[in-house]
Symmetry: C2
Subunit: 232 residues, 2 copies
């Protein structure tokens, strides 16, 4: 069965997944790069962002990279919130602006961009952005269809992840707890009381100081043998 | 130098150190025992609570116990909020009620109970409770004096710990992140933005699923050689 997966979602000790005062030049707001410093040195990030071989080196192969690398494994489509495509809000003013991701975005798959303001599909390199006003369920159905049997990545931001978690659509969640106190921003966990009852969690610590949590959705007993629970 | 230390302070993934709806019978409110389940099986807890040798066994010696045991090391006094002594609020109605801790409380030292409603000192076994209306600085001065050269434990609750952290009085902080989402209660981290800049942190994971964080206050450069920084 294809899964819906979240990877590399970093939160502070106080549960903020992004900061306040986000702008075009500061996508994480006052958090700046502090939630993602564990990620930038990884070989996975270096490869995806085209930095291999520059002065930054070839990227680290350690524990952080082991987790980061999973984000590329067997993904056929991504779902993201509009804020991950660009900082604009409200009706699109300018279709010539093509997002933060450049001419060859690192997705290489169809990407469903959730927005109340649809616009024509945008093809950039191997990535096609589809701007759609859909419920989480409908977005997942579309992305699953586009993924052709592979998994779907739920790319964030935190508000979108929270909505999909609340709707119990997420099969796998990789959270990275960074030992900083952000104090303000967008909280990941609001409205998700008792989430742990639906997931099995495991934890690993990296020398970089972050803790990696994997949350895997528990299989309901009736589904253990390959089908839905019999109706009783 | 004597230190002010916090131990075994458990928080949920969303940063709550206790739940909502706390009562006499439910000191952690709707969180019930979920924040402390890692702690109860430890040898340290078994010894402190007098359960050794009962059906629960002798207690576990694993990673969780390694951390828990530190709470007893070299402590000469404790500071706690009134809520850790008992559930009452407002003026004391009944001095005959002597707290949740029984006739032989597990502290065995003077304990400064912070309250706006003072009452006579209370001696129970080897523990003396002093009920005082003090600022964090004055409470620390009193407890340091009572500790006779040993360290002072800051015993919680989270509101008290937050106040002492905001006043930069805490030297060591042991936090236990439990992989649950409480959703409501008392947040530990509010108002502490940027706390990590004052502490060096390390992390370890236990097979029980919790992550132990140690935060040690950084020594200002001028104090590295044994005295205050020279005035310039």
């Amino acid at each position: 069965m294809a899964q819906l997966r979240v990877h590399n979602l970093a939160v502070s000790l106080d549960g903020f997944a992004t900061g306040e005062d986000r702008t075009f030049d500061a996508p994480f707001g006052h958090a700046q790069d502090r939630l993602m410093r564990w990620y930038f040195p990884t070989r996975t990030f270096m490869e995806m962002s085209g930095h291999m071989g520059e002065a930054t080196g070839d990227g680290a192969n350690g524990i952080d990279d082991v987790f980061a690398a999973q984000t590329r494994r067997g993904i056929g489509a991504e779902i993201m919130g509009r804020g991950k495509f660009g900082p604009q809000v409200g009706p699109w003013q300018d279709h010539s602006w093509q997002g933060w991701w450049g001419n060859e975005p690192p997705f290489h798959t169809p990407v469903v961009v959730l927005t109340h303001h649809e616009r024509p599909d945008l093809v950039l390199g191997e990535t096609t952005f589809l701007f759609r006003d859909l419920t989480p369920q409908a977005a997942l159905a579309l992305a699953t269809d586009l993924a052709g049997g592979l998994d779907v990545r739920l790319g964030g931001g935190p508000t979108v992840v929270r909505e999909f978690l609340a709707a119990d659509l997420v099969d796998f969640l990789h959270i990275v707890v960074v030992p900083i106190v952000l104090g303000r921003g967008v909280r990941l966990w609001d409205g998700l009381e008792g989430l742990e009852e639906r997931f099995d969690s495991e934890t690993a610590v990296s020398p970089s100081g972050v803790a990696h949590y994997t949350l895997s959705r528990r299989t309901p007993v009736g589904e253990l043998h390959g089908g839905p629970a019999p109706r009783t």
